[in-house]
């Protein structure tokens, strides 16, 4: 069985190699090859999963040592895999959702002439992501970590002819680099502290190192997680990443890659458990991001950006849960999996809507689409019910557990965290209801003529499809709807399945440990409060967007709305705090370089040049002037000799 682990990574890697190197010869069949290899990887994952289920909980972890990568004295970097329950969960999520999205992309990218390349990148992403979760040491994890960053960059900028996409890709890459530096420093620290960076020695010896060092490692790991998972303060790239094709947003920027940070924190649980200060920072980051993402999600009119805000917010929940320690790890991963289902489903739904609406992303130009896209409506609706935590659907179970765990943190902290998570749940319900109402209910605003106010921005689209006088919403082809249906099933049932007999928690317990949290109030009260806040959020959204007609042009809005539309000024803050001082610094350095360094060098050269220019005049060719210098020199020598005598 161990030998199969390599195949998990090998299949998509092979696909990427064939698709990216094959050239035009594989253009016609390339996308099916990509789907096939992703599916093969999923089948291997499923076989390994069934095999794992048949074993005792303690014997489930598989190890495979492929080869020694850099064997130098005490520095032993191996390419070795470890497949335990946590990795298995990720493998199934990545390959399962990945395969579905591969199938969806066949339809979605049908008219793109670079479809083969797109599938090559998707396969590359799968390979890198699987490497990330299967690695048995931090260095190999880092390889996968960089690999997914690369794939993300390539896919965000897939339509690089659009300047906005090219800029967004660069932004994602650069912001992620900050986090990657954190991971690299964490690995350095581990090596100096433990003499190794393999999971087993580092994590089992974690308690022996000093708390200060563990806190440093934990904070650096958190920095890495912030970059990859778009947590405050490195969150700015995720909204712009929506420039990529929608399947990419669904797979990479909702279901899998952005959850790598949560994986990293959960995997390094032993370090965080021994460093309470780092844990507190993790919790704070999670809480801030969950509110931040939710508020941004409320104000965006772009359907994908609203969902991106929501993704940030939901990952904030996971990070918060992971920061709670053993009472939260399992729930973080559980929410991660259910979120993978419903958020991927929501993104695919959004893609389907855009597909039927001439790539229009402004929700204010949607409305009443439920008649035209019944399958999209139902699957999106189920995903919607799941994410707001409607009782019985998967989001309800996973989010409710996190809220309970937040209260169970205890003391004032517990109350604050509980309140924040509850507030987040209410805002989640609000913005998701808003998306739902704007898109599928209300007037058919896409029939309205474009108001002259924002005509310049909308004109190119109107020209292209102008002869029909607006979009003709239609249901998407079957290759797109089937993955949405499967994901909708997952959104509905996954949570309940995990909850029955706490099966998911017991499954992960050998890896992540588990302690029962005891909330200060009974679990039923917390659940009740969750449902009530959720209903309040839904009601508020209905009052604002369901009962009244929605203007096609966004009203100016309050100060908060306007700030939230600009992502709560994240870019302005980054600009003011990082970009501007950076510019001044480089300008200063350029000034110092050109004036001081160059000045010194050029000045020396110029002074020698000038001096020799003067000296040259002595060589005037007149014998008498040479004679003067001879006499002068002789006189000086005589004078010097006399002077020395006198002294």
């Amino acid at each position: 069985m161990e030998s199969l682990i390599g195949l998990l990574v090998g299949f998509p890697l092979l696909g990427a190699a064939v698709l990216l190197c094959g050239g035009k010869r594989v253009d016609r069949t390339g996308h099916w090859l990509g789907v096939l290899l992703a599916g093969a990887s999923f089948v291997v994952g499923a076989v390994l999963f069934l095999d794992m289920l048949g074993k005792n909980a303690d014997e489930r972890a598989l190890h495979q040592h492929l080869f020694s990568w850099v064997p130098v004295e005490s520095f032993q970097a191996d390419v070795a895999f470890q497949l335990d329950q946590l990795s298995m969960t990720f493998v199934l999520l990545i390959t399962g959702v990945g395969t579905l999205i591969h199938i969806y992309s066949v339809g979605y990218m049908e008219h793109d002439e670079r479809r083969r390349r797109f599938f090559g990148y998707l396969n590359l992403f799968l390979a890198a992501m699987l490497l990330l979760v299967l690695a048995d040491n931090y260095l190999l994890l880092y390889v996968g970590w960089e690999g997914v960053g690369l794939a993300s960059y390539l896919l965000i900028g897939f339509w690089q002819h659009k300047p906005s996409a090219a800029v967004a890709a660069k932004k994602a890459f650069i912001v992620n680099r900050v986090g990657d530096a954190g991971l690299a420093i964490a690995i350095f620290l581990m090596f100096t502290t433990f003499g190794s960076f393999a999971f087993a020695p580092v994590l089992s010896n974690a308690t022996e190192a000093g708390e200060g060092k563990l806190t440093a490692i934990g904070l650096m790991l958190l920095l890495a997680a912030c970059g990859k998972s778009a947590q405050v303060p490195l969150q700015s790239w995720l909204g712009d990443a929506m420039e990529g094709p929608t399947p990419v947003s669904a797979l990479i920027h909702a279901a899998t890659m952005v959850t790598a940070g949560v994986y990293l924190i959960t995997r390094s649980g032993a370090i965080f458990n021994a460093a309470p200060d780092a844990q507190t920072v993790v919790v704070v980051v999670g809480a801030v991001t969950l509110l931040y993402g939710a508020i941004v999600g409320c104000a965006k009119d772009d359907i994908k950006k609203a969902l991106a805000g929501s993704t940030m917010s939901q990952i904030g929940y996971m990070v918060l849960a992971a920061g709670l320690g053993p009472i939260g790890y399992a729930f973080a991963i559980m929410h991660l999996v259910t979120h993978g289902f419903f958020k991927a489903g929501l993104f695919l739904g959004a893609g389907s809507v855009m597909h039927g609406m001439n790539d229009e992303v402004d929700m204010r130009r949607y409305g009443g689409l439920r008649k035209y896209m019944p399958v999209t409506f139902v699957t999106f609706g189920l995903g919607y019910l799941a994410i707001i935590g409607f009782p019985g659907l998967s989001g309800f179970f996973s989010k409710d557990q996190i809220i309970e765990a937040a209260f169970a943190k205890g003391g004032t902290q517990g109350w604050i965290l509980g309140a924040v998570t509850l507030l987040g749940a209410a805002i989640t319900a609000y913005y998701m209801t808003r998306v739902m109402l704007l898109t599928f209910f209300g007037e058919e605003r896409w029939r309205q003529k474009t108001p002259s106010a924002d005509a310049p921005s909308a004109e190119p689209a109107a020209e292209v499809h102008g002869e029909h006088g607006g979009p003709h919403p239609h249901e998407s082809p079957r290759s797109m709807t089937i993955p949405m249906i499967v994901l909708a099933f997952g959104s509905v049932f996954a949570g309940g399945l995990f909850k029955v007999g706490d099966s998911f928690v017991h499954w992960l317990e050998p890896v992540t440990q588990f302690e029962h949290g005891h909330p200060p109030v009974s679990a039923a009260v917390v659940t009740g409060a969750t449902v009530v806040t959720m209903l309040v959020g839904v009601g508020a959204a209905w009052l604002q967007y369901g009962r009244r007609p929605v203007p096609v042009v966004a009203p100016r809005g309050s100060l908060l709305t306007r700030a939230a539309r600009r992502d709560l000024l994240q870019d302005d803050i980054n600009h003011a705090v990082l970009v501007k001082p950076g510019e001044y610094l480089t300008r200063g350095l350029v000034y110092v370089d050109s004036k001081v360094v160059d000045g010194l060098v050029n000045g020396t050269a110029a002074s020698f040049g000038g001096l020799s220019g003067r000296t040259r005049r002595l060589q005037n060719g007149f014998v008498r002037s040479y004679a003067v210098s001879m006499f002068g020199g002789a006189a000086v020598l005589v004078a010097a000799t006399l002077l020395m005598r006198a002294v």
Binding site: G621, F622, V623, R624, A627, V628
Partner: protein, 99 residues
Amino acid sequence: MSPVNYVYLAALLFTIGAAGVLIRRNAIVVFMCIELMLNAANLTLIAFSRIHGNLDGQIMAFFVMVVAAAEVVVGLAIIVMMYRSRHSASVDDASLMKL
């Protein structure tokens, strides 16, 4: 008369010779001034020889005379050649060697 006076005379002759070399343009005159300087040097050699009471300086003076004679032969030849090609004996006209 004290032999030191010959040294003063030599210094005077040398100064006149040096001034002539620096100031005059005519190559012949410059040449004669050089001779003057050489002979001033000879005079000091002989004067010091007399003062110290040995013959080293006088022997040295003979050497100088021989060298001066050889120099006159070469120098006059150059001046004559220069005058032939340029119709001038001015040392300032021969300034082509500058940069």
